[in-house]
Every structure is written in structure tokens, then in C-alpha cells.
């Protein structure tokens, strides 16, 4: 009986190590002082972070990715929040069709979305432009905003809105002063997910970046095809920290939001 328990514990601890170790090792290696990837690192240093910060191309890609993700946050959060507000009041076939359209990017395999967008955008002359990436990434990010805001709206007491309207507030005033403050955690979580969706996105960027709009994941991909340069380990570690901070924040906020509703 205890033997079974021993093997069970060994197994799940092993799986957790399997999950965590590759990421921990990349982070450790990024502080290596060696000029190539080697185990164990002869000494620790910041040379690969200096290489990253000293490279005009890496920095240009970083700013592009941050800029594109910033625009995606604004567009996806605005469009997605409005749509979530409308969606809760729609019924029947209209609601089903709109919901299906909105969640389709979660279901359609990335490669199909990427080449479909590439097919159309090459005609609109949007390939190799940041605008093309913003438009495409917004479509991929919108489902996260709509689901997050919809979850907030589902926990919203509708009588509060009715009370505001009944007391003479305009629909806009009701939205601004009652609805929006109550759903703001959902809107914020959606915005954070939209940011990460765009910042980490690679498959669409493989087709849309061209030579004029090389995002950070795209530059990592291009470099990886030739050699495993430790600069990528440094860039990876920085993006892991950024996404962990953002999504960890979103996770905490969502949990706190759930507690507040109860």
C-alpha cells in the first residue's frame, strides 16, 4: 500500500520537474559567460544581456513587438468590451452566430489562420507592415477579451443598472458610472491577455513580417534556424519574466474577482 503511494509521489514530482526544468535551465544559461552554449557554464556573467541590449536589430524588434502589442490591446479591448456588452443581450441564432465568429480564432489551427490572413493581406499590401500585424493579432486576441468581459458581466447584478436608469441616469452615464467600474477587472484581464497574445505570436508573423516588420518572436525564429546563439537565451528569459509578471497579475486579479463576486 505504501509502495503505491511512494511511486505515485515519485511520478508527479518527476512530472513537475519535467515541466519546470527546461525553463529554469534556459534562464540559468542566459547568465553564462561562455561564448557558446555549454554545460555547465564556466562562469556567470551578463554578456548575453549586453549583446542583446547592444544589438540594434534585437532592440528594433523588441520595440516593434511592444508597439504592435500596445495597439492590439487598445483595439481588441475596445472592440471586445463593446461586443461582450452587446452579446449578453442578444438571443437565439444571432447570438450563436456572433459568438461562433468571435471564438473561431481559438478553434481554427494557427497555420490556417496565418495563411488565410496572408492570402488576403498580400492583396491589401499589408504584408511587411506593422498595421497588418496589428489587424491580424487583434482578431486572435479578441476572444480572450470577450470571454473575460463576458465572465464579469455574468456576475454583474443587472438591478444596479436598472436602478441607475430608473433614477434618471442616461444610458451612457449608467455605463460610465455603474457598469464599467463593476466589469473593469474583466476588462483589464482581457487587455493583459490581448497583450501577451500579440507579444508572443509567431505563426502569423512568419507570413506577415516580411522584411519590414520583424517582431521579436520572428527574429528569434530566424536566428534559431542558423545557430543556437545564447543571446536568444537572454531574450527568452526576459520574455518569460514579462509574461509571467503579466499573466500572474491577471491570474491573481481573476481569482480576487471571483472571490469578490461571492
Amino acid at each position: 500500500m505504501n509502495i503505491g503511494r511512494f511511486w505515485f509521489t515519485t511520478l508527479w514530482v518527476f512530472v513537475l520537474l519535467f515541466l519546470a526544468l527546461p525553463i529554469v535551465i534556459v534562464a540559468l544559461l542566459s547568465f553564462s559567460s561562455a561564448s557558446y552554449l555549454t554545460f555547465p557554464p564556466p562562469a556567470f556573467g551578463l554578456r548575453w544581456y549586453e549583446a542583446y541590449l547592444g544589438s540594434r536589430e534585437w532592440l528594433a524588434s523588441t520595440w516593434l513587438s511592444l508597439g504592435v502589442a500596445g495597439c492590439v490591446v487598445v483595439l481588441a479591448t475596445t472592440l471586445g468590451t463593446l461586443a461582450a456588452l452587446g452579446l449578453t443581450r442578444l438571443r437565439g441564432a444571432t447570438r450563436a452566430a456572433v459568438a461562433a465568429l468571435i471564438v473561431s480564432p481559438l478553434i481554427v489551427p494557427g497555420i490556417i489562420a496565418a495563411i488565410g490572413i496572408y492570402y488576403a493581406f498580400s492583396r491589401y499590401r499589408l504584408v511587411g507592415t506593422p498595421i497588418g500585424l496589428v489587424l491580424a493579432h487583434t482578431c486572435l486576441a479578441v476572444p480572450f477579451v470577450v470571454t473575460s468581459v463576458s465572465a464579469s458581466l455574468a456576475g454583474l447584478d443587472r438591478r444596479l443598472e436598472q436602478a441607475a436608469l430608473g433614477l434618471g441616469a442616461t444610458p451612457w452615464g449608467t455605463f460610465r458610472q455603474v457598469t464599467l467600474p463593476l466589469i473593469s477587472p474583466g476588462v483589464l484581464v482581457g487587455a493583459l491577455f490581448a497583450f501577451i497574445t500579440s507579444f508572443d505570436e509567431l505563426i502569423v508573423a512568419l507570413f506577415l513580417s516580411g522584411s519590414g516588420a520583424v517582431t521579436l518572436p520572428r527574429r528569434m525564429w530566424d536566428d534559431l534556424r542558423f545557430e543556437i546563439d545564447p543571446t536568444i537565451a537572454a531574450v527568452s528569459t526576459l520574455t518569460i519574466l514579462l509574461t509571467a509578471a503579466i499573466l500572474g497579475g491577471a491570474h491573481l486579479m481573476r481569482r480576487r474577482g471571483l472571490f469578490a463576486e461571492r
Binding site: 505515485f8 525553463i23 472592440l79 452579446l87 473561431s104 509574461t243
Partner: protein
């Protein structure tokens, strides 16, 4: 006092007119930049050069497609089974641990979940390379003299994909196990069932909706995987998504569209089947990104 009717009018108006206007901007945006581009691309499979189903008819005898499709299915199946076998114990442990310990496990599961697929694939390139950590350890311990070829093999694809998709298996199963009535396994144990029987005849059957949801997520995501097999796979691991990308590079749009429609149809078919399994829909709603 204001008469009730005077209050009801503005309320009624916002309820009927607003919803369509609120969803319209997003619907228009997604139609123009997402749905219509996809439809236009997919339509090339039946409209090039004239309206025909010839492309699809040819797939049945297309040896390249059949081999790639088989590789894709085989990989997705191996990854799903691997993720289930490794993921279930972690989900079970999460449901049995105390609150703080379960929270630590959740963070360890979520950390790789939040790291991009590209970075995680890169991590496996670093680990599995000729001079990677695993080969260095094998040589240092004397298990092998020459470095093994681990990178660019099917093994690398399976290991890296299982690593990347494991959270999609663990989270739905853990969600079901957490909501399970703890009195049921305790009652079985109290009535004299040995631990293995409690698991096999009470806990496991009750967690099946979570297993089904996890299997659905991992299998469907595996089918369309592109980045990981392209980076860590060898020539024998050429998946459907890679064939599609290759055909686009060759500007062979009718064939690429035909392959895309096939992959999409397979994905939708599997989702449609799994959606009707009991409890799966409810579990999928509880899973975070």
C-alpha cells in the same frame, strides 16, 4: 413620484437597439480581417482554375499527403497518450494536497503554460542538442561515449510537444477532481475498498469529463502544431501544418487550401464529437487560457 411607464421607456429602448450596434464593430472587423480572408483562401481549393472538387478527389491517392497525414495523426495520438499518463498523476496530486502546496504545484504548471511555445521549443533544442545538457550528462555518467542524436528526431517532437501541451491536460482534470464530492472516495475506502480499487472504480470514472476535455484539447492542438515540429523534428516528422506552409511558399494555393480545409474539417469533427460527451462542455468553461 415618477409613473412607472415613464421609467420603462428609456430602459426598453437601450435593451432593444443597443446589442446589435455594440457587436457590429467587432463583427465587421473580424469579417474583414479574419473570416473573409480565410473563406477566400479556402475557396481556392474548389475554384482553381474552375469550380471543381478535383483537388479533394486527388488527396485519396496522394502518397505525400497520406504519409504526412499519418505522421500528424500518429504524433497527435502519441502526444495525447503521453500527456494523459504524465498529467493525470499531477492533477490527482493537486486535488489531494493541502491548499498552499496545491498552490505551489499550480504555479509550476502555469509557469510553462505562460511561456511562449517558441521559447519552450528553444529550451528543448538547448537540452537535446549534440552538446546539450542531456548528452553531457549521459557522457559524464559513462552511459554513452559518443553523443546521441536526440534533436531532430520523433522522440524530440514527442517530448517537446508533451511538455508544451501538458498543462492543457492537467488543468481540466484537476478542475473536475477539485469539484468532486470527497465523501465518495472516502465512503468507498471506509467500506473496505483497497486504495487502487477506490481510484479505479470511484475517482477515475468520476473524473472522465476532465479526461475527455484534456484529451480533446491536447489532440486538437497537436493536429495543428507547427513551431515545435519545425524546430526540433527531423525529416520524418513532417506534419500537415508544415506541408501547408511549404505549399504556400511554393505559391501552390489550391493545394494549400485543400490541405487546410482537410485539417480544419478534422479539427471541427473531433470537437463536434467530444462536445456531446457528458460534462465536457462544462469542464472546458472552467479551464484558463
Amino acid at each position: 413620484m415618477i409613473p412607472a411607464a415613464a421609467v420603462a421607456v428609456p430602459v426598453r429602448r437601450t435593451v432593444t437597439l443597443a446589442p446589435v450596434l455594440l457587436v457590429a464593430p467587432l463583427v465587421a472587423f473580424m469579417l474583414i480581417f479574419y473570416a473573409l480572408p480565410l473563406a477566400a483562401m479556402l475557396s481556392r481549393s474548389v475554384s482553381d482554375p474552375t469550380w471543381t472538387l478535383e483537388n479533394y478527389r486527388r488527396l485519396a491517392g496522394d502518397t505525400v499527403f497520406l504519409r504526412v497525414f499519418w505522421t500528424t495523426l500518429r504524433t497527435a495520438l502519441a502526444v495525447t497518450i503521453g500527456a494523459l499518463l504524465l498529467g493525470y498523476p499531477v492533477a490527482l496530486a493537486m486535488s489531494r494536497l493541502r491548499r498552499t502546496a496545491a498552490g505551489v504545484v499550480l504555479i509550476i504548471v502555469l509557469l510553462p503554460f505562460w511561456t511562449s511555445v517558441l521559447v519552450r521549443s528553444y529550451a528543448w533544442m538547448v537540452l537535446l542538442g549534440r552538446k546539450g545538457l542531456i548528452n553531457e550528462v549521459l557522457i559524464a555518467t559513462g552511459l554513452t561515449d559518443t553523443p546521441l542524436k536526440l534533436l531532430n528526431t520523433s522522440l524530440a517532437v514527442h517530448v517537446a510537444m508533451i511538455h508544451i501541451l501538458l498543462p492543457y491536460m492537467i488543468l481540466p482534470i484537476a478542475s473536475v477532481l477539485r469539484q468532486m464530492d470527497e465523501a465518495l472516495p472516502r465512503a468507498a475506502a471506509g467500506l473496505g475498498a483497497p486504495p487502487w480499487n477506490v481510484f479505479a472504480r470511484v475517482t477515475l470514472p468520476l473524473s472522465m469529463p476532465g479526461v475527455a476535455a484534456g484529451v480533446l484539447l491536447v489532440f486538437v492542438l497537436s493536429l495543428g502544431f507547427y513551431i515545435t515540429p519545425a524546430l526540433v523534428g527531423g525529416p520524418r516528422d513532417f506534419m500537415l501544418s508544415m506541408l501547408i506552409a511549404q505549399q504556400v511558399d511554393l505559391l501552390n494555393w489550391p493545394y494549400a487550401a485543400c490541405l487546410s480545409a482537410t485539417l480544419l474539417a478534422a479539427t471541427l469533427l473531433i470537437i463536434a464529437v467530444f462536445q456531446y460527451l457528458p460534462g465536457v462542455r462544462d469542464v472546458l468553461k472552467t479551464v484558463p487560457r
